[in-house]
């Protein structure tokens, strides 16, 4: 029973990990940029949702579309205005420094606007745990897992079935060929970044109802995204889902079996091991630049 409970808790956490990492994975897979400000975007989403809940009394699950729109617009401008410039003028590794700089700026801005205090969102349906066959599940967490899965499914549909998704995948495979077919590659990169930022924002809104948060958490969420992506594989929602769920189960399992202080050490050990054994991840195909 304890094992089942651990796995159930891990899956709930894993859904959130998967959703928070999918944008990071998309950006890395499509343009080869490691976005160190991804966690900061997640935190911006969390604070936007907190603001709507605190000021207007709106449920975070309802305001997800608004949060996604705000962050999507920001993501498009951010990519076209800063990241593309950095990639053109310098290199991909240097663009990592640009995203780190932006992460610092966003974190500082959040501290100035919302204070460094720990915040949390408590919707009306929280605090009434359900008992399902001997396993205790918080309805809030169940809603979070459900919302994460729905959003991931929607992204998979967009990428695999829509015209925009086809263009994004084509540009990821070969930028030059896509451009020869009339694709505006820079616009596609902007769109990809917008989609990624929007999903980071959605993850933030859901994160808000599950865990308390504060601005410095952004580093942790960037790291989580890193581990999820190296575990599952770059560039696909399926990879992020697998990596996220695995990571969630691993985190709860480690704190259950070894000790509550060790999930982070375990996570990074797995990260390093995966990079050495299979750098393209469990479901990944090797994108350009992995070697």
């Amino acid at each position: 029973m304890l094992a089942l409970q651990t796995i159930a808790d891990g899956l709930v956490l894993g859904g959130l990990y998967a959703l928070s990492a999918v944008g990071f994975s998309l950006i890395f897979g499509v343009m080869g940029v490691v976005n160190l400000s991804h966690g900061a975007l997640v935190m911006v989403g969390a604070y936007l949702a907190w603001f709507f809940w605190h000021a207007l009394g709106l449920d975070p699950l309802v305001t997800i579309p608004v949060v996604m729109l705000c962050l999507g617009a920001f993501g498009y401008v951010y990519q076209r205005g800063l990241i593309q410039l950095a990639v053109d003028r310098s290199s991909h590794v240097a663009s990592m420094l640009v995203t780190f700089g932006v992460a610092l700026m966003l974190r500082n801005t959040l501290v100035l606007v919302f204070s460094p205090d720990l915040r949390s969102i408590t919707p009306s349906y929280s605090g009434h745990p359900l008992l399902l066959g001997g396993i205790v599940i918080d309805p809030v967490r169940l809603a979070a897992l459900g919302a994460s899965l729905v959003l991931l499914g929607a992204l998979a549909l967009i990428l695999n079935r829509s015209r925009m998704g086809r263009v994004i995948r084509a540009t990821a495979q070969q930028e030059l060929a896509a451009r020869l077919c009339g694709v505006n590659a820079h616009h596609v990169y902007g769109l990809t970044f917008a989609v990624a930022a929007a999903f980071a924002g959605a993850a933030g809104a859901i994160l808000g109802i599950v865990l308390p948060f504060s601005p410095p958490d952004e580093g942790l969420w960037t790291m989580n995204a890193f581990v999820v992506v190296t575990l599952g594989g770059v560039g696909s929602p399926q990879g992020a889902l697998l990596g996220g769920l695995l990571l969630g189960v691993m985190a709860t399992g480690t704190s259950q079996l070894i000790g509550p202080a060790f999930p982070n050490a375990m996570m990074f050990a797995v990260l390093v091991a995966m990079l050495l054994i299979r750098p393209s991840g469990l479901l990944g195909n090797a994108f350009a630049g992995s070697r």
Binding site: G32, V34, A86, G101, A103, A261, F262, V272
Partner: protein, 322 residues
């Protein structure tokens, strides 16, 4: 090769000697605050130089060198506290060697697998390793990472502590500069630069790429570890979060990038500018400190992607073209 390089750069070397000699007078002419700023500039320059042995010469950007600062600091700290009571200087000297040895050893253990990764993957793996070590140091009780260690106090010639550590760091920086110069102008230095430009071609032409990379990785780690020991002593009291700082890893890159990657003056220029800017100019604006640092980073990559030396070179070329 080395003799010819020394002859060619005689004026630069003379300038370096004059500057180091001038720096030695700093503690006599300024306030303790500025001596501390000087300490930080020296530490950052030396760390930047140690980083550049692999990152600048061979193009392998480590994002986790703070792991070696932490390893060195804690190895020496535990050794000195447990075994060297009452003999601070002997303990410090042995601790310095031990810190360098442990860091070098750790690097040699991970070197073979991790140096097979390239580019962003190497950077990320180093970041991961530094995080694992920090977490372990913090959570396993015998390392005393969360409680902290109080290191033995050093004193000599009646110097104030900040002046003493200033001189220790000055000596360390001079030694590392000489070593880096020697490496840069030796056979291995040429090999490393070949690796940076095109590793596969270098290997095909008979450069022992693996051996060079591993050697430099270990050298870079050992030097960083020794600097970690000095830094730990200058703090007096260390915890995991004061020596295993991701910030350190990133600063090493930023200073090199600002000054110019792959050069020896790069880290000095970069750290002097950044430290003076962040400590002296922004010292009073704590609430937006992080914002300004981030904005500087962004500007730096966009305006001078090749650093100050690259900017100077480009300007000079433009002048001579006229």
């Amino acid at each position: 090769m080395l003799v010819a390089a020394v002859r060619r750069r005689a004026w630069w070397i003379l300038l370096g000697v004059v500057l180091f000699a001038a720096a030695a007078f700093l503690p006599f002419v300024t306030t303790p605050f500025y001596v501390r700023v000087g300490q930080l500039v020296l530490l950052s320059s030396a760390l930047g130089l140690a980083w550049t042995l692999l990152g600048g010469f061979a193009g392998y950007w480590s994002f986790g060198n703070s792991a070696f600062i932490g390893l060195g600091a804690f190895a020496a700290g535990i050794f000195e506290v447990e075994l060297m009571k009452g003999q601070p200087w002997l303990g410090f000297a042995l601790g310095l060697l031990l810190g360098a040895a442990i860091s070098g050893l750790a690097a040699s253990v991970v070197a073979w697998p991790i140096l097979r990764l390239r580019g962003i993957y190497f950077a990320v793996a180093m970041l991961g390793i530094s995080q694992v070590l920090a977490e372990l140091n913090n959570n396993i009780d015998i390392f005393k990472g969360s409680m902290g260690l109080v290191l033995p106090r050093l004193s000599a010639f009646g110097l104030r502590p900040e002046a003493l550590y200033f001189y220790l760091l000055l000596i360390a920086t001079i030694l590392i500069t000489i070593l880096a110069f020697a490496i840069q102008h030796s056979r291995i230095g040429a090999g490393l630069m070949a690796i940076r430009e095109d590793e596969d071609t270098a290997r095909m032409l008979g450069v022992p790429t693996e051996r060079y990379k591993v050697t430099m990785f270990i050298a870079s780690a050992a030097l960083t570890g020794a600097l970690g020991v000095i830094y730990a002593h200058s703090l007096g009291y260390i915890t995991t979060s004061s020596v295993y700082r991701t910030e350190f890893s990133l600063n090493m890159i930023v200073y090199n990038l600002l000054g110019g990657i792959g050069t020896l003056i790069g880290p000095f220029l970069g750290s002097a500018i950044m430290v003076i800017l962040t400590q002296v100019v922004l010292g009073r604006l704590l609430s937006i400190h992080m914002f300004v640092t981030g904005a500087l980073l962004v500007l730096l990559v966009l305006v001078a992607p090749k650093g100050i030396t690259g900017l100077v070179r480009a300007l000079r070329q433009r002048w001579s073209a006229r």
